[in-house]
Amino acid sequence: MAKFSEQQMKEFQRLVNRYPEGKQKSALLPVLHLAQESFGGWLSTETMDYVADLLQLEPIEVYEVATFYSMFNTQPVGKYMFEVCQTGPCMLNGSDEIISYIKEKLGIKAGETTPDGMFTLKTVECLGACGYAPMMQLGNNYREHLTKEKVDAIIEECRNNAARNN
Protein backbone atom coordinates (compact mmCIF):
# COMPACT_ATOMS: atom_id res chain seq x y z
CA MET A 1 0.00 0.00 0.00
CA ALA A 2 1.09 3.49 -0.84
CA LYS A 3 2.46 5.58 1.99
CA PHE A 4 3.60 9.19 2.17
CA SER A 5 7.25 9.74 1.27
CA GLU A 6 9.55 11.40 3.74
CA GLN A 7 8.95 14.73 2.01
CA GLN A 8 5.19 14.27 2.11
CA MET A 9 5.40 13.19 5.73
CA LYS A 10 7.10 16.49 6.53
CA GLU A 11 4.28 18.36 4.85
CA PHE A 12 1.83 16.22 6.81
CA GLN A 13 3.50 17.23 10.06
CA ARG A 14 3.48 20.88 9.06
CA LEU A 15 -0.26 20.68 8.44
CA VAL A 16 -1.01 18.93 11.72
CA ASN A 17 1.11 21.36 13.72
CA ARG A 18 -1.13 24.27 12.84
CA TYR A 19 -3.83 23.12 15.21
CA PRO A 20 -4.01 22.88 18.99
CA GLU A 21 -3.05 19.67 20.79
CA GLY A 22 -5.60 16.94 20.28
CA LYS A 23 -7.35 18.76 17.45
CA GLN A 24 -5.48 16.95 14.72
CA LYS A 25 -8.78 16.12 13.03
CA SER A 26 -8.73 19.73 11.85
CA ALA A 27 -5.97 18.78 9.45
CA LEU A 28 -8.24 16.32 7.67
CA LEU A 29 -9.10 18.46 4.64
CA PRO A 30 -5.55 19.60 3.92
CA VAL A 31 -4.25 16.06 4.47
CA LEU A 32 -6.83 14.62 2.09
CA HIS A 33 -5.71 17.17 -0.51
CA LEU A 34 -2.14 16.04 0.03
CA ALA A 35 -3.14 12.39 -0.24
CA GLN A 36 -5.17 12.95 -3.38
CA GLU A 37 -2.28 14.78 -5.03
CA SER A 38 0.19 12.13 -3.91
CA PHE A 39 -1.76 9.03 -4.85
CA GLY A 40 -3.03 9.44 -8.39
CA GLY A 41 -5.64 12.16 -8.18
CA TRP A 42 -8.22 10.24 -6.22
CA LEU A 43 -8.88 8.78 -2.80
CA SER A 44 -9.14 5.02 -2.68
CA THR A 45 -10.50 3.28 0.39
CA GLU A 46 -6.96 2.27 1.30
CA THR A 47 -5.81 5.86 1.03
CA MET A 48 -8.63 7.06 3.26
CA ASP A 49 -7.98 4.30 5.79
CA TYR A 50 -4.32 5.32 5.80
CA VAL A 51 -5.26 8.95 6.45
CA ALA A 52 -7.62 7.83 9.22
CA ASP A 53 -4.79 5.91 10.80
CA LEU A 54 -2.36 8.84 10.57
CA LEU A 55 -4.82 11.22 12.18
CA GLN A 56 -6.16 8.66 14.66
CA LEU A 57 -9.70 8.83 13.35
CA GLU A 58 -12.33 6.20 12.66
CA PRO A 59 -12.35 5.42 8.93
CA ILE A 60 -16.01 6.41 8.68
CA GLU A 61 -15.10 9.94 9.78
CA VAL A 62 -12.82 10.19 6.78
CA TYR A 63 -15.36 8.69 4.37
CA GLU A 64 -18.00 11.12 5.60
CA VAL A 65 -15.77 14.07 4.91
CA ALA A 66 -14.31 12.86 1.63
CA THR A 67 -17.77 12.32 0.15
CA PHE A 68 -19.07 15.69 1.32
CA TYR A 69 -16.63 17.88 -0.58
CA SER A 70 -16.84 18.02 -4.34
CA MET A 71 -13.08 18.31 -4.88
CA PHE A 72 -12.36 14.90 -3.43
CA ASN A 73 -12.67 12.09 -5.92
CA THR A 74 -13.57 8.74 -4.47
CA GLN A 75 -13.41 7.18 -7.95
CA PRO A 76 -10.42 7.20 -10.30
CA VAL A 77 -10.29 10.12 -12.72
CA GLY A 78 -8.39 10.91 -15.89
CA LYS A 79 -4.94 12.38 -15.90
CA TYR A 80 -6.39 15.76 -16.80
CA MET A 81 -9.69 16.83 -15.40
CA PHE A 82 -11.61 19.60 -17.14
CA GLU A 83 -13.91 21.09 -14.55
CA VAL A 84 -16.08 23.46 -16.51
CA CYS A 85 -18.32 25.92 -14.72
CA GLN A 86 -21.96 25.86 -15.77
CA THR A 87 -23.56 28.28 -13.28
CA GLY A 88 -25.63 31.33 -14.29
CA PRO A 89 -22.97 33.98 -14.86
CA CYS A 90 -20.88 31.61 -16.97
CA MET A 91 -24.02 30.46 -18.77
CA LEU A 92 -24.73 34.10 -19.73
CA ASN A 93 -21.39 34.07 -21.48
CA GLY A 94 -21.74 30.83 -23.37
CA SER A 95 -20.56 28.05 -21.06
CA ASP A 96 -23.21 25.74 -22.51
CA GLU A 97 -21.55 25.91 -25.93
CA ILE A 98 -18.11 25.33 -24.47
CA ILE A 99 -19.32 22.27 -22.61
CA SER A 100 -20.96 20.87 -25.75
CA TYR A 101 -17.79 21.52 -27.68
CA ILE A 102 -15.61 19.67 -25.18
CA LYS A 103 -18.04 16.76 -25.13
CA GLU A 104 -17.93 16.54 -28.89
CA LYS A 105 -14.18 16.97 -29.04
CA LEU A 106 -13.40 14.32 -26.43
CA GLY A 107 -16.32 12.08 -27.28
CA ILE A 108 -17.48 11.80 -23.67
CA LYS A 109 -20.33 13.01 -21.55
CA ALA A 110 -20.00 15.06 -18.38
CA GLY A 111 -18.77 12.82 -15.60
CA GLU A 112 -16.97 10.45 -17.97
CA THR A 113 -13.33 9.72 -18.68
CA THR A 114 -11.86 9.09 -22.11
CA PRO A 115 -11.01 5.41 -22.72
CA ASP A 116 -7.29 6.20 -22.72
CA GLY A 117 -7.64 7.57 -19.19
CA MET A 118 -6.37 10.94 -20.32
CA PHE A 119 -9.32 13.31 -19.83
CA THR A 120 -12.24 13.57 -17.47
CA LEU A 121 -14.98 16.12 -18.07
CA LYS A 122 -16.82 17.38 -15.05
CA THR A 123 -19.39 20.15 -14.97
CA VAL A 124 -19.05 22.17 -11.80
CA GLU A 125 -20.75 25.08 -10.11
CA CYS A 126 -19.40 28.63 -9.84
CA LEU A 127 -15.66 28.74 -9.22
CA GLY A 128 -15.34 32.46 -8.56
CA ALA A 129 -14.24 33.47 -12.02
CA CYS A 130 -17.56 34.77 -13.27
CA GLY A 131 -16.03 37.91 -14.76
CA TYR A 132 -13.67 35.84 -16.86
CA ALA A 133 -16.27 33.42 -18.19
CA PRO A 134 -16.51 30.88 -19.65
CA MET A 135 -13.90 29.10 -17.59
CA MET A 136 -12.64 25.82 -16.29
CA GLN A 137 -10.36 24.50 -13.62
CA LEU A 138 -7.47 22.35 -14.76
CA GLY A 139 -5.35 20.98 -11.94
CA ASN A 140 -4.44 23.79 -9.58
CA ASN A 141 -5.17 26.54 -12.08
CA TYR A 142 -7.99 28.27 -13.87
CA ARG A 143 -8.31 28.64 -17.63
CA GLU A 144 -10.49 31.62 -18.38
CA HIS A 145 -12.18 33.41 -21.29
CA LEU A 146 -12.55 30.05 -23.01
CA THR A 147 -13.23 29.83 -26.71
CA LYS A 148 -13.31 26.79 -28.95
CA GLU A 149 -9.79 27.62 -30.09
CA LYS A 150 -8.57 27.85 -26.53
CA VAL A 151 -10.14 24.50 -25.73
CA ASP A 152 -8.32 22.96 -28.72
CA ALA A 153 -5.06 24.45 -27.51
CA ILE A 154 -5.56 23.18 -23.96
CA ILE A 155 -6.26 19.66 -25.16
CA GLU A 156 -3.16 19.83 -27.31
CA GLU A 157 -1.11 21.12 -24.41
CA CYS A 158 -2.25 18.27 -22.16
CA ARG A 159 -1.44 15.67 -24.78
CA ASN A 160 2.02 17.18 -25.25
CA ASN A 161 2.66 17.29 -21.53
CA ALA A 162 1.59 13.70 -21.15
CA ALA A 163 3.87 12.64 -24.01
CA ARG A 164 6.80 14.51 -22.53
CA ASN A 165 6.33 13.00 -19.10
CA ASN A 166 6.28 9.45 -20.40
Partner: protein, 366 residues
Protein backbone atom coordinates in the same frame (compact mmCIF):
# COMPACT_ATOMS: atom_id res chain seq x y z
CA UNK B 1 -26.70 23.27 44.38
CA UNK B 2 -28.42 26.61 44.21
CA UNK B 3 -32.17 26.77 44.00
CA UNK B 4 -33.28 25.94 40.49
CA UNK B 5 -34.59 28.96 38.59
CA UNK B 6 -38.02 28.27 37.17
CA UNK B 7 -39.28 29.90 34.00
CA UNK B 8 -42.93 30.35 33.14
CA UNK B 9 -43.77 29.53 29.56
CA UNK B 10 -47.16 29.53 27.89
CA UNK B 11 -47.77 27.17 25.02
CA UNK B 12 -51.07 27.40 23.19
CA UNK B 13 -52.47 29.30 26.15
CA UNK B 14 -51.43 26.67 28.67
CA UNK B 15 -48.81 27.79 31.18
CA UNK B 16 -46.16 25.60 32.78
CA UNK B 17 -43.12 26.23 34.90
CA UNK B 18 -39.91 24.61 33.86
CA UNK B 19 -36.28 24.88 34.93
CA UNK B 20 -34.14 27.39 33.03
CA UNK B 21 -32.44 25.68 30.11
CA UNK B 22 -35.46 23.55 29.21
CA UNK B 23 -36.35 23.53 25.54
CA UNK B 24 -39.76 24.56 24.29
CA UNK B 25 -40.34 20.98 23.15
CA UNK B 26 -39.58 19.55 26.58
CA UNK B 27 -41.85 22.11 28.18
CA UNK B 28 -44.60 21.15 25.75
CA UNK B 29 -44.06 17.48 26.55
CA UNK B 30 -44.57 18.36 30.15
CA UNK B 31 -48.02 19.67 29.22
CA UNK B 32 -48.53 16.74 26.88
CA UNK B 33 -51.26 16.12 24.36
CA UNK B 34 -51.88 18.14 21.26
CA UNK B 35 -49.72 21.10 22.17
CA UNK B 36 -46.61 18.94 21.91
CA UNK B 37 -44.97 19.48 18.54
CA UNK B 38 -44.03 16.34 16.62
CA UNK B 39 -40.31 15.57 16.68
CA UNK B 40 -38.74 13.39 14.04
CA UNK B 41 -35.05 14.02 14.61
CA UNK B 42 -34.75 15.18 18.22
CA UNK B 43 -34.12 12.45 20.77
CA UNK B 44 -33.72 13.61 24.33
CA UNK B 45 -31.23 10.87 25.14
CA UNK B 46 -28.91 11.65 22.24
CA UNK B 47 -26.73 14.67 22.68
CA UNK B 48 -26.64 17.06 19.76
CA UNK B 49 -29.74 15.61 18.13
CA UNK B 50 -32.54 17.77 16.82
CA UNK B 51 -32.87 20.87 14.70
CA UNK B 52 -32.77 19.05 11.40
CA UNK B 53 -36.18 17.75 10.40
CA UNK B 54 -38.02 21.01 11.14
CA UNK B 55 -41.30 19.27 12.02
CA UNK B 56 -41.22 20.76 15.50
CA UNK B 57 -41.26 24.40 14.32
CA UNK B 58 -43.31 26.70 16.51
CA UNK B 59 -44.10 30.38 16.63
CA UNK B 60 -42.73 32.42 19.51
CA UNK B 61 -45.26 35.22 19.81
CA UNK B 62 -43.60 36.74 22.85
CA UNK B 63 -39.89 36.34 23.47
CA UNK B 64 -39.89 36.80 27.23
CA UNK B 65 -41.16 39.04 29.97
CA UNK B 66 -38.05 41.19 29.62
CA UNK B 67 -38.04 41.37 25.87
CA UNK B 68 -41.57 40.70 24.68
CA UNK B 69 -40.80 41.05 21.00
CA UNK B 70 -41.95 38.06 18.97
CA UNK B 71 -39.32 36.04 17.13
CA UNK B 72 -39.50 36.85 13.42
CA UNK B 73 -39.01 33.29 12.22
CA UNK B 74 -40.53 30.04 13.35
CA UNK B 75 -38.07 28.23 15.58
CA UNK B 76 -37.21 24.58 16.11
CA UNK B 77 -38.80 23.92 19.48
CA UNK B 78 -36.42 21.03 20.16
CA UNK B 79 -33.39 23.31 20.13
CA UNK B 80 -34.78 26.57 21.47
CA UNK B 81 -34.69 27.09 25.20
CA UNK B 82 -37.50 28.85 27.01
CA UNK B 83 -37.23 32.29 28.52
CA UNK B 84 -39.26 33.51 31.45
CA UNK B 85 -42.63 34.72 30.25
CA UNK B 86 -42.25 33.30 26.76
CA UNK B 87 -45.40 32.67 24.77
CA UNK B 88 -45.43 29.98 22.15
CA UNK B 89 -48.01 29.01 19.59
CA UNK B 90 -48.18 25.55 18.14
CA UNK B 91 -51.64 24.27 17.23
CA UNK B 92 -53.02 27.77 17.62
CA UNK B 93 -50.73 29.17 14.92
CA UNK B 94 -51.90 28.86 11.31
CA UNK B 95 -48.36 29.77 10.25
CA UNK B 96 -47.00 26.77 12.11
CA UNK B 97 -49.62 24.43 10.70
CA UNK B 98 -48.83 25.63 7.20
CA UNK B 99 -45.08 25.33 7.61
CA UNK B 100 -45.41 21.91 9.19
CA UNK B 101 -47.59 20.66 6.37
CA UNK B 102 -44.81 21.90 4.08
CA UNK B 103 -42.16 20.02 6.01
CA UNK B 104 -44.25 16.85 5.91
CA UNK B 105 -44.62 17.22 2.17
CA UNK B 106 -40.87 17.68 1.79
CA UNK B 107 -40.20 14.59 3.88
CA UNK B 108 -42.60 12.58 1.77
CA UNK B 109 -41.62 13.62 -1.77
CA UNK B 110 -38.81 11.13 -1.83
CA UNK B 111 -40.31 8.64 0.56
CA UNK B 112 -41.88 5.52 -0.88
CA UNK B 113 -45.63 5.28 -0.45
CA UNK B 114 -45.61 1.60 0.17
CA UNK B 115 -46.45 1.63 3.85
CA UNK B 116 -48.53 -1.54 3.53
CA UNK B 117 -45.42 -3.57 2.76
CA UNK B 118 -43.01 -1.70 5.02
CA UNK B 119 -41.67 -3.49 8.08
CA UNK B 120 -42.17 -0.41 10.12
CA UNK B 121 -45.84 0.01 9.20
CA UNK B 122 -47.85 0.57 12.30
CA UNK B 123 -44.98 1.98 14.30
CA UNK B 124 -43.58 4.53 11.94
CA UNK B 125 -43.42 8.08 13.15
CA UNK B 126 -43.50 9.44 9.62
CA UNK B 127 -46.74 7.60 8.99
CA UNK B 128 -48.20 9.14 12.13
CA UNK B 129 -46.87 12.53 11.18
CA UNK B 130 -48.31 12.58 7.69
CA UNK B 131 -51.60 11.29 9.05
CA UNK B 132 -51.78 14.08 11.58
CA UNK B 133 -50.14 17.01 9.88
CA UNK B 134 -49.91 16.33 6.19
CA UNK B 135 -52.17 17.30 3.36
CA UNK B 136 -53.85 14.87 1.06
CA UNK B 137 -52.10 13.87 -2.12
CA UNK B 138 -48.65 14.83 -3.32
CA UNK B 139 -47.76 17.55 -5.78
CA UNK B 140 -44.44 15.90 -6.57
CA UNK B 141 -44.46 14.54 -10.09
CA UNK B 142 -40.93 13.33 -10.51
CA UNK B 143 -39.22 10.07 -9.95
CA UNK B 144 -38.41 9.41 -6.34
CA UNK B 145 -34.90 8.82 -5.14
CA UNK B 146 -34.32 5.14 -4.49
CA UNK B 147 -31.59 2.99 -3.04
CA UNK B 148 -31.13 -0.75 -2.83
CA UNK B 149 -31.67 -2.46 0.48
CA UNK B 150 -28.40 -3.43 2.11
CA UNK B 151 -27.58 -5.81 4.87
CA UNK B 152 -25.31 -4.35 7.48
CA UNK B 153 -24.26 -7.73 8.76
CA UNK B 154 -26.47 -10.46 10.15
CA UNK B 155 -28.53 -8.23 12.42
CA UNK B 156 -29.46 -5.01 10.75
CA UNK B 157 -30.94 -4.15 7.40
CA UNK B 158 -30.73 -0.67 5.92
CA UNK B 159 -33.33 0.50 3.47
CA UNK B 160 -31.99 3.95 2.69
CA UNK B 161 -34.96 4.84 0.48
CA UNK B 162 -37.03 5.25 3.62
CA UNK B 163 -34.49 7.26 5.58
CA UNK B 164 -35.32 10.84 6.52
CA UNK B 165 -31.75 11.72 7.52
CA UNK B 166 -32.57 12.50 11.11
CA UNK B 167 -28.99 11.54 12.13
CA UNK B 168 -30.30 9.76 15.24
CA UNK B 169 -28.60 6.50 14.34
CA UNK B 170 -25.32 8.35 13.86
CA UNK B 171 -25.55 9.97 17.29
CA UNK B 172 -26.61 6.63 18.78
CA UNK B 173 -23.63 4.79 17.33
CA UNK B 174 -21.32 7.54 18.54
CA UNK B 175 -22.74 7.84 22.01
CA UNK B 176 -23.96 4.42 23.06
CA UNK B 177 -22.02 1.92 21.01
CA UNK B 178 -18.29 1.37 21.36
CA UNK B 179 -17.54 2.24 17.77
CA UNK B 180 -19.21 4.03 14.91
CA UNK B 181 -18.82 2.39 11.55
CA UNK B 182 -21.66 3.97 9.64
CA UNK B 183 -22.42 7.61 8.97
CA UNK B 184 -23.82 10.13 6.54
CA UNK B 185 -22.08 10.08 3.19
CA UNK B 186 -22.39 12.51 0.28
CA UNK B 187 -24.33 15.70 0.67
CA UNK B 188 -27.54 17.51 -0.14
CA UNK B 189 -30.27 15.41 -1.65
CA UNK B 190 -27.73 12.67 -2.32
CA UNK B 191 -26.82 12.34 1.32
CA UNK B 192 -27.22 8.84 2.62
CA UNK B 193 -26.66 6.68 5.64
CA UNK B 194 -24.05 4.11 4.74
CA UNK B 195 -20.87 2.34 5.74
CA UNK B 196 -19.06 3.27 2.48
CA UNK B 197 -17.48 -0.12 2.11
CA UNK B 198 -19.58 -3.15 2.87
CA UNK B 199 -19.32 -3.43 6.63
CA UNK B 200 -21.04 -5.57 9.15
CA UNK B 201 -22.32 -3.67 12.09
CA UNK B 202 -22.25 -5.90 15.11
CA UNK B 203 -20.60 -4.17 18.00
CA UNK B 204 -22.33 -4.78 21.30
CA UNK B 205 -24.85 -1.95 21.43
CA UNK B 206 -25.29 -1.13 17.77
CA UNK B 207 -28.73 -2.74 17.68
CA UNK B 208 -30.10 0.36 19.37
CA UNK B 209 -29.93 2.21 16.08
CA UNK B 210 -33.03 0.25 15.15
CA UNK B 211 -34.91 1.61 18.13
CA UNK B 212 -33.98 5.22 17.47
CA UNK B 213 -34.83 5.12 13.76
CA UNK B 214 -38.16 6.90 13.39
CA UNK B 215 -38.96 5.17 10.10
CA UNK B 216 -38.39 1.80 8.52
CA UNK B 217 -34.88 2.53 7.33
CA UNK B 218 -33.06 0.44 9.92
CA UNK B 219 -34.79 -2.79 10.77
CA UNK B 220 -34.11 -5.93 12.71
CA UNK B 221 -33.12 -8.80 10.45
CA UNK B 222 -33.80 -11.30 13.17
CA UNK B 223 -37.43 -10.18 13.43
CA UNK B 224 -39.04 -13.42 12.41
CA UNK B 225 -41.92 -13.45 9.95
CA UNK B 226 -41.96 -9.72 9.62
CA UNK B 227 -45.70 -9.47 9.95
CA UNK B 228 -47.42 -6.28 10.54
CA UNK B 229 -46.50 -5.54 14.11
CA UNK B 230 -50.11 -5.38 15.09
CA UNK B 231 -50.47 -9.11 14.86
CA UNK B 232 -47.98 -9.42 17.65
CA UNK B 233 -48.53 -8.65 21.27
CA UNK B 234 -45.98 -6.55 23.14
CA UNK B 235 -45.18 -7.61 26.69
CA UNK B 236 -42.63 -6.30 29.13
CA UNK B 237 -40.01 -8.82 30.12
CA UNK B 238 -36.57 -8.96 31.63
CA UNK B 239 -33.60 -11.22 32.09
CA UNK B 240 -30.38 -10.95 33.95
CA UNK B 241 -27.77 -9.48 31.63
CA UNK B 242 -24.31 -8.23 32.55
CA UNK B 243 -24.07 -5.99 29.54
CA UNK B 244 -27.29 -4.04 29.70
CA UNK B 245 -30.32 -3.51 31.90
CA UNK B 246 -31.98 -6.59 30.43
CA UNK B 247 -35.37 -4.88 30.48
CA UNK B 248 -37.08 -5.26 27.16
CA UNK B 249 -40.28 -5.49 25.30
CA UNK B 250 -41.02 -8.83 23.66
CA UNK B 251 -43.24 -8.96 20.64
CA UNK B 252 -45.07 -12.24 20.94
CA UNK B 253 -47.43 -14.31 18.99
CA UNK B 254 -48.61 -17.17 21.10
CA UNK B 255 -45.48 -18.45 22.75
CA UNK B 256 -43.15 -17.33 20.02
CA UNK B 257 -40.83 -14.38 20.46
CA UNK B 258 -40.90 -12.58 17.13
CA UNK B 259 -38.79 -9.65 18.13
CA UNK B 260 -37.09 -7.95 21.06
CA UNK B 261 -36.85 -4.19 21.46
CA UNK B 262 -36.06 -1.72 24.17
CA UNK B 263 -38.97 -0.25 26.09
CA UNK B 264 -40.27 3.05 24.81
CA UNK B 265 -41.90 5.95 26.55
CA UNK B 266 -44.87 7.92 25.31
CA UNK B 267 -42.67 9.95 22.97
CA UNK B 268 -41.33 6.84 21.32
CA UNK B 269 -37.96 7.12 23.03
CA UNK B 270 -36.16 4.36 24.85
CA UNK B 271 -37.17 4.53 28.50
CA UNK B 272 -34.92 4.60 31.48
CA UNK B 273 -34.49 1.26 33.17
CA UNK B 274 -36.12 0.65 36.54
CA UNK B 275 -32.82 1.18 38.32
CA UNK B 276 -32.61 4.68 36.82
CA UNK B 277 -29.86 3.68 34.39
CA UNK B 278 -30.20 3.85 30.64
CA UNK B 279 -32.64 1.55 28.94
CA UNK B 280 -30.53 0.78 25.87
CA UNK B 281 -30.23 -2.96 25.36
CA UNK B 282 -27.33 -5.04 24.12
CA UNK B 283 -27.22 -7.05 20.96
CA UNK B 284 -27.40 -10.31 22.89
CA UNK B 285 -30.72 -9.46 24.46
CA UNK B 286 -32.05 -8.02 21.24
CA UNK B 287 -30.96 -10.51 18.66
CA UNK B 288 -30.04 -13.75 20.38
CA UNK B 289 -32.72 -14.42 22.97
CA UNK B 290 -35.71 -15.59 21.03
CA UNK B 291 -36.99 -18.25 23.44
CA UNK B 292 -39.72 -17.39 25.85
CA UNK B 293 -37.70 -19.34 28.43
CA UNK B 294 -34.95 -16.73 28.22
CA UNK B 295 -37.25 -14.17 29.73
CA UNK B 296 -39.32 -13.37 32.80
CA UNK B 297 -42.60 -11.91 31.58
CA UNK B 298 -43.92 -8.94 33.53
CA UNK B 299 -47.18 -8.23 31.73
CA UNK B 300 -48.63 -6.49 28.69
CA UNK B 301 -47.07 -3.24 27.58
CA UNK B 302 -49.17 -0.13 27.59
CA UNK B 303 -48.91 1.15 24.10
CA UNK B 304 -49.44 4.87 23.83
CA UNK B 305 -52.20 6.37 21.77
CA UNK B 306 -49.72 8.15 19.58
CA UNK B 307 -48.90 5.27 17.32
CA UNK B 308 -51.03 3.66 14.69
CA UNK B 309 -50.48 0.31 16.38
CA UNK B 310 -52.64 1.55 19.18
CA UNK B 311 -55.55 1.54 16.77
CA UNK B 312 -55.57 -2.22 16.81
CA UNK B 313 -57.23 -4.35 19.25
CA UNK B 314 -54.59 -6.62 20.61
CA UNK B 315 -54.06 -6.97 24.34
CA UNK B 316 -57.75 -7.59 24.72
CA UNK B 317 -58.60 -3.99 24.18
CA UNK B 318 -61.66 -3.09 22.16
CA UNK B 319 -61.55 0.38 20.79
CA UNK B 320 -64.68 2.29 19.92
CA UNK B 321 -64.97 3.59 16.40
CA UNK B 322 -63.29 6.94 16.12
CA UNK B 323 -65.94 9.43 15.14
CA UNK B 324 -63.65 12.30 14.39
CA UNK B 325 -61.57 10.69 11.69
CA UNK B 326 -64.78 9.32 10.30
CA UNK B 327 -66.40 12.70 9.81
CA UNK B 328 -63.16 14.41 8.86
CA UNK B 329 -62.35 12.12 5.96
CA UNK B 330 -59.94 10.03 7.93
CA UNK B 331 -58.08 12.90 9.53
CA UNK B 332 -57.85 13.49 13.23
CA UNK B 333 -58.81 16.81 14.74
CA UNK B 334 -55.88 19.13 15.30
CA UNK B 335 -57.33 20.46 18.50
CA UNK B 336 -60.06 19.08 20.64
CA UNK B 337 -61.78 21.42 23.05
CA UNK B 338 -64.70 21.23 25.38
CA UNK B 339 -66.91 23.87 23.86
CA UNK B 340 -68.47 24.67 27.21
CA UNK B 341 -65.18 25.74 28.65
CA UNK B 342 -64.35 28.18 25.93
CA UNK B 343 -67.72 29.58 24.94
CA UNK B 344 -69.78 32.18 26.66
CA UNK B 345 -72.82 31.09 24.76
CA UNK B 346 -72.89 27.36 25.18
CA UNK B 347 -73.62 26.91 28.79
CA UNK B 348 -73.21 23.38 30.03
CA UNK B 349 -76.76 23.20 31.30
CA UNK B 350 -78.21 23.61 27.84
CA UNK B 351 -78.30 20.32 25.99
CA UNK B 352 -78.60 21.28 22.37
CA UNK B 353 -78.69 17.67 21.32
CA UNK B 354 -81.94 17.22 23.16
CA UNK B 355 -83.75 19.85 21.14
CA UNK B 356 -86.06 18.47 18.47
CA UNK B 357 -85.30 21.27 16.06
CA UNK B 358 -82.41 23.54 15.13
CA UNK B 359 -81.27 25.71 18.01
CA UNK B 360 -82.40 29.31 18.18
CA UNK B 361 -80.73 32.15 19.95
CA UNK B 362 -83.62 32.19 22.38
CA UNK B 363 -82.65 28.74 23.56
CA UNK B 364 -79.61 30.27 25.20
CA UNK B 365 -81.50 32.88 27.13
CA UNK B 366 -82.99 30.58 29.67
Amino acid sequence: MAEETLFKVTIDNITVEVPAGTTILQAARKIGGEVTPPAMCYYSKLQGSGGKCRTCLVEVSKGSEKDPRPMPKLVASCRTTVMDGMEVKNVTSPRVQEARAGVVEFLLINHPLDCPICDQAGECHLQDLSYEHGKEGSRYEFQKRTFKKVDLGEYIQLHMTRCILCYRCVFAADQISPKREHGVLDRGDHAQIATFIQKNLHNEFIGNVIDVCPVGALTDKTFRFKNRVWFTKPVNAHRHCDKCCGEVQLWLRGDEVFRVTARKDEWGEVKEASNGKTGWICNDCRFEKKNLADWVIEGPTNVNRHSVIAQNKYVGLVKPTETFPAIMKGRNPKLLMDIHSVSEVNKPNIHLSQLERPAHSTDFNQ
